[in-house]
């Protein structure tokens, strides 16, 4: 059974929607800025659902007023890592919240190979299941280039 036949990673917000355009990303970012969130850009080539800590692209951007600054950083990251997953995250520093409140993917590799289900037979007839992304089949230095 395939629950996600087009193979798109669905993580964070808007991931069931078609790719957001830059104008739409700007609107989302501006919404966050108006609420006082600090945006940051992160990237990874290992899209495992449990891989929550992606690599930071630069520092989180505090004290921004306009979405153009964030978009500049996103485009910079896209240029550097065109075949990586790139996501935008908004940090809410309100006391008691102090966490990420928005997160969505703004860049994907051209080909998203999806995941393999690995079955491990253990004691008795027990089977343990593992999800393994095909994206990490190759060593890190060779991923993304095709």
């Amino acid at each position: 059974m395939m629950t996600n036949p087009v193979g798109r990673i669905t993580q964070g917000q808007f991931s069931y929607l078609p790719e957001l355009t830059d104008a739409e990303i700007s609107l989302q970012v501006q919404y966050g800025l108006n609420k006082g969130y600090a945006w940051s850009v992160e990237y990874t080539d290992d899209p495992h659902p449990r891989n929550t800590y992606w690599e930071m692209f630069g520092l989180p951007m505090f004290e921004l007023r306009d979405a153009a600054g964030v978009l500049m950083e996103v485009n910079n990251c896209r240029k550097t890592f065109p075949q990586h997953y790139i996501r935008l995250m908004a940090f809410d520093s309100t006391r008691g919240v102090e966490t990420i409140v928005m997160s969505f993917i703004v860049n994907r590799p051209e080909r998203e190979p999806g995941f393999a289900l690995v079955r491990q037979e253990t004691h008795g007839r027990t089977i343990r299941y593992t999800v393994r992304p095909y994206a990490t089949d190759r060593p890190e230095s060779e991923r993304g280039s095709r």
Binding site: Y16, P18, R65, D66, A67, E73
Partner: protein
Amino acid sequence: MAAPLYQIPGQTASTAESATTEAAAAGTAVADPLQSARTVEEVLAQSQVSAVMDELDRDLIGLAPVKGRIRDIAALLVIDKLRMNLGLQAQAPSLHMSFIGNPGTGKTTVALRMAQILHRLGYVRKGHLIAVTRDDLVGQYIGHTAPKTKEVLKKAMGGVLFIDEAYYLYRPENERDYGQEAIEILLQVMENQRDDLVVILAGYKDRMDAFFRSNPGMSSRVAHHLDFPDYQPRELEEIAQRMLQSMHYRLSDSAIAAVHEYIPLRMQQAHFANARSIRNALDRARLRQANRLFAQKGRQLTRDELMTIEGEDIRASRVFT
């Protein structure tokens, strides 16, 4: 990967189509309230530019050439808005500026106003002013400059970036100075993201001229060179009155006469910094006034006495000796 059993709307074939409709939707979402205006008056009424211009006229004394240029720019932006409403091409003009003038001629004050005016005209989206100097842009070691400059630029997006004493960015005596790197990043953003921010370079006349001579790229990207003339003694008197008024002080008749004498004398002395010198002189006069009142310990002081600066407070200045 298996062929999809169903299609996510806008996934492959209809991507282009959906993208355009989305862009259009996004466009209307940030719709300009000025879009339907047809006359200059309508644009002015809706953008409240004239209020800012009046304020500029009222609050800032002298500076006629600067006000004239600001009016020109405002006029161009208003007409552009009308052209755009009628579907004529109105290419966003380059609005990077340089403010050139002696110390204390109001460069920073005007820059603040400029941010407001450009915001009301809808030229910059947020209308905030980020004031920086060399220290904020140029790093301490290799690889430090680019992130630092970019961070400042990101903060300034949607507003005005005011670079005070911009000529310090370029140090010709040291060819490995990191200032050059900051200038290159600035130039790139000034060129590519003209809609997103306006850069104002400020500095003193002779050194700014040298700066632009050695950075022709910068000079050609700055469309407006505004000269801030020195103030006349009469204007400085008016400025003094204005400053005191905002601090709830006033000059007695003898103090007015003293200020009248003080200003020409101060102007001949070294390190005269126009309005800034006047502000400092007034601050010292306030100290003397406080001292004078402090000496009369037993007496009840009236509101008037607390507000008034007397001639003797001014004349105690060492300018008169």
